[in-house]
């Protein structure tokens, strides 16, 4: 028997050791998220998954599930805060969707669509972030980095290569490549690495396949991200799939 907590008034069962996010997704309840990935240890940095518990706001991806918690997620107030976070992420980098080959497969963009973000909201910073096109098969476009550290985590934990890291602090924080030259061509990254598959935005891109799937026929063109995130959630092996 597992314990339960309340999420937006619904009973959610959880196993001990699960976070609120894990339990919610497993049970078929969506909480918006960006830096959380079911295969990695929660990072808790993007704050998109912030929920309200007992009058306090907490990142649900790092909050351990406990019996009888009363968690609120899908509220007007929290979704307004999420919209603000999305706007801040857009304003901080150069997210120029019309020229991005990740458009339609981008989680940041899909969350913007799903949360109905129509406006820029903030003064865009238009930072100067040169590309790294040094690698023969892989392009790095730092303009779109949201510092989720998924590539850092994937390269270190799964690929065992430590190709990426974050350097600097505060607003000067940025993604770097772990090579003396600072260039991707001088690392042992490979197209088959996990780090190639986890970027939620358009930073780490395999070359020469950008438009194999045309704009308009891509993942989040089909269905909103809220309807798809549950597909990736860890589920009980059989029979117990929630709808």
């Amino acid at each position: 028997m597992s314990d339960t907590f309340q999420l937006d008034g619904k009973e959610v069962a959880f196993e001990s050791g699960q976070t609120v996010m894990q339990a919610a997704l497993t049970a078929g309840h969506y909480i918006p998220h960006l830096c959380y990935h079911p295969e990695f240890k929660p990072h808790g940095s993007c704050k998109l998954c912030t929920v309200e518990v007992g009058g306090r706001t907490v990142a649900s991806c790092t909050l351990p599930a406990e019996a009888n918690l009363n968690v609120e997620s899908n509220t007007g107030e929290l979704n307004a805060l999420r919209r603000t976070l999305i706007q801040m992420l857009f304003a901080e980098g150069n997210h120029f969707c019309p020229s991005c080959e990740k458009s339609g497969n981008c989680m940041l963009q899909a969350l913007g669509y799903d949360l109905e973000v129509h406006t820029a909201g903030f003064r865009h910073m238009y930072p100067d972030r040169p590309l790294d096109a040094s690698h023969p098969d892989i392009l790095l476009d730092f303009n779109r980095c949201i510092l989720c550290e998924l590539c850092v985590r994937a390269s270190a934990e799964v690929d065992g290569k430590n190709v990426f890291a974050l350097a600097g602090r505060g607003s000067g924080k940025h993604l770097i490549v772990n090579a003396e030259s600072g260039l991707l061509k001088d690392t042992n990254i490979a197209l088959t690495d996990k780090a190639m598959q986890v970027c939620p935005v358009g930073v780490i891109l395999p070359k020469r396949v950008g438009f194999t799937v045309p704009i308009g026929e891509r993942r989040y063109d089909q269905r909103p991200i809220s309807a798809q995130a549950l597909d990736d959630a860890p589920r009980p092996p059989s029979g117990a799939r929630h709808e």
Binding site: N94, C97, Q109, H118, H124, D221
Partner: protein, 181 residues
């Protein structure tokens, strides 16, 4: 006189490519029922040069030069509802991709040092509006009431937004119509 007064609509393209205007025309035959309830004031479609009092102003493109600023202020002064339409109007879009560069060095490279240029010079005709140091989204210059994202927004998105607005509903785009690309 029992005919209902038509809503007056003005449109302009500032630092834009007229793609949003083309997309507006993509509402196709729905233009006819639309023209039963609206009439155009200043717009590239009418060639009226200055904007009179209007109900709705639609502006595509961001603000990249001194003339853009004047046109935008003229629209804000005259339009009860001002709508930013398209990526450039909302966050600067393509023209704003120069924002992390120095304007002087942009002009120098394009008109003076670019290989293949012979007798190049930076255009200096007094008729030409002076470029601004940076390209700005509309909302950084005047108050904008609504935003229709997209590069360009589809004809369907524009139709949905305008018909919602004209009939007094809160304009909503929703999945499939809300696009940033």
């Amino acid at each position: 006189m029992n005919e209902k007064k038509k809503l007056r609509v003005a449109t302009a393209s500032l630092a834009g490519c007229f793609g949003c205007h083309m997309s507006f025309l993509d509402i196709d035959e729905r233009l006819f029922p639309l023209l039963d309830i609206i009439e155009f004031d200043r717009s590239p479609l009418t060639d009226i040069k200055h904007c009179g009092p209007c109900d709705i102003g639609l502006i595509e493109g961001g603000v990249c030069n001194a003339e853009n600023v004047h046109v935008l202020h003229e629209f804000r002064k005259n339009c009860k509802i001002l709508i930013a339409i398209g990526a450039c109007a909302i966050n600067g879009g393509l023209p704003a991709q120069r924002n992390h560069l120095d304007l002087g060095s942009c002009l120098t490279e394009v008109y003076l040092t670019e290989p293949g240029l012979i007798h190049g010079h930076i255009p200096n005709d007094p008729e030409l509006p002076l470029p601004l140091d940076k390209v700005h989204p509309l909302h950084e210059v005047v108050k904008i009431d609504y935003f229709i994202p997209g590069c360009p927004p589809s004809g369907d998105a524009i139709w949905k937004f305008l018909t919602d607005l004209i009939s007094g509903r809160t304009p909503e785009l929703g999945h499939g119509l809300l696009k940033y690309d």
